[in-house]
Symmetry: C2
Subunit: 260 residues, 2 copies
Amino acid sequence: MTKRLKIVKIGGNIINSETALNRFLKDFSALENPKILVHGGGRKATEVSKTLGVNSLMHNGRRITDASSLEVTVMVYAGLINKKIVAALQAMQSNALGVSGADANLIQSRKRPVKEVDFGFVGDVEQVNAQMILKLLEAGLVPVFSAITHDGKGQLLNTNADTIAAELAVALAEKTAVELIYIFEKDGVLKNVQQNEVIEQLDWETYQSLKQQKVILDGMIPKLDNCFYALQNGVKKVVIGGEKLLSDSGQKYTQVVLDE
Amino acid sequence: MTKRLKIVKIGGNIINSETALNRFLKDFSALENPKILVHGGGRKATEVSKTLGVNSLMHNGRRITDASSLEVTVMVYAGLINKKIVAALQAMQSNALGVSGADANLIQSRKRPVKEVDFGFVGDVEQVNAQMILKLLEAGLVPVFSAITHDGKGQLLNTNADTIAAELAVALAEKTAVELIYIFEKDGVLKNVQQNEVIEQLDWETYQSLKQQKVILDGMIPKLDNCFYALQNGVKKVVIGGEKLLSDSGQKYTQVVLDE
């Protein structure tokens, strides 16, 4: 592949709003191939769970996936959301192929070992089938990943979508130049929440110090860990930004870099 | 492709039972490539609909798919059932790729025109992307189709799984030798229901006369119409049989043929 591969991950803020999703997909479809989309779940899984009487158990802010939750997750992520995105992209002339990690054995994972907490049917990525993904890209397809993987022994597993995007980026970086783009509810990593001011370039040292100062905290930490993991493993460029990142060139965003 | 392509369609009788499904998938995984699996929905969609408070409307025994029913169908067929089958096949060393017709634009359909009845989001197949399916088969993949298609304008549509199998067979018959295998709840087309005796070879004339005699009726008619449609359009061989058709060589089944 001669052109840089773009891997874009979107989260609940976009998936929860039909307007935001369609606007984003229009921007995404306008990106040149090769490209990959990774999506999380959003509110729909919680809604369906509630209606079906499936309780979402949490432990320190992390979801515990029992058998019933896994069924709902697979239905909503790999079924409803994935196929809606694929149909919408097809209408925009992007030849989308919706996949989970089980499909074509693209992402194999291992059920997270039980320590103090049993997170249930949650998988940590073990292996990405980069060769098959390249074949699909070379056939002109646009893979759209839901955050479901499998263990190779018949068990589907729920996997963090940010992690999937980073693991795909790292595996594919061995074969081609990769850019990783996280799109989330803010315009980037903020200097502080009050002023809504975006850090335009975030290096490892600054990251460490902002963590100590509690400027960067909570869900932002695993996301940024994924960013640095990608950069440390051959991914060319990693950015984090808001909904309009792909379309609005005036939009501020954060580029994550290893050194200043 | 030098070897005959086998397209196998399974229905609710297999999908509703975990034991039957696993036994069948073992048989299917033992078939040589190239092969394609098409699956219907089964009881799960009805169960989920009921729990979610979505009513299944029927008209003369045919389902009417409103927006809520379509969501459930996509969740259960393209999500839960499709991914469970894919993960199980992967564990059996079959490199399954679960798809709907929207994925890679494999099957485009048209919303059924409203006449006396509005069937809702139901699609009649218009176009099969045989070239892309061949590419997937040549990559060593085993496509697993759920009975969901799209209209190319962003709308997902519910499509009869028997029809999908027949349309795939016909489109691929232009490129390679195809055998179409319907697996359902009986051992084949029966001479009469009382004796459970299987018609081993059913030709067009006999079919017409058995319809007149009301020996063949109800859901069996559209299924057999699909069989003859396939044979009339280049498919080499069409058989209908029971759960053990792929594994038990002593098992009776019906071969559908054009002439005696």
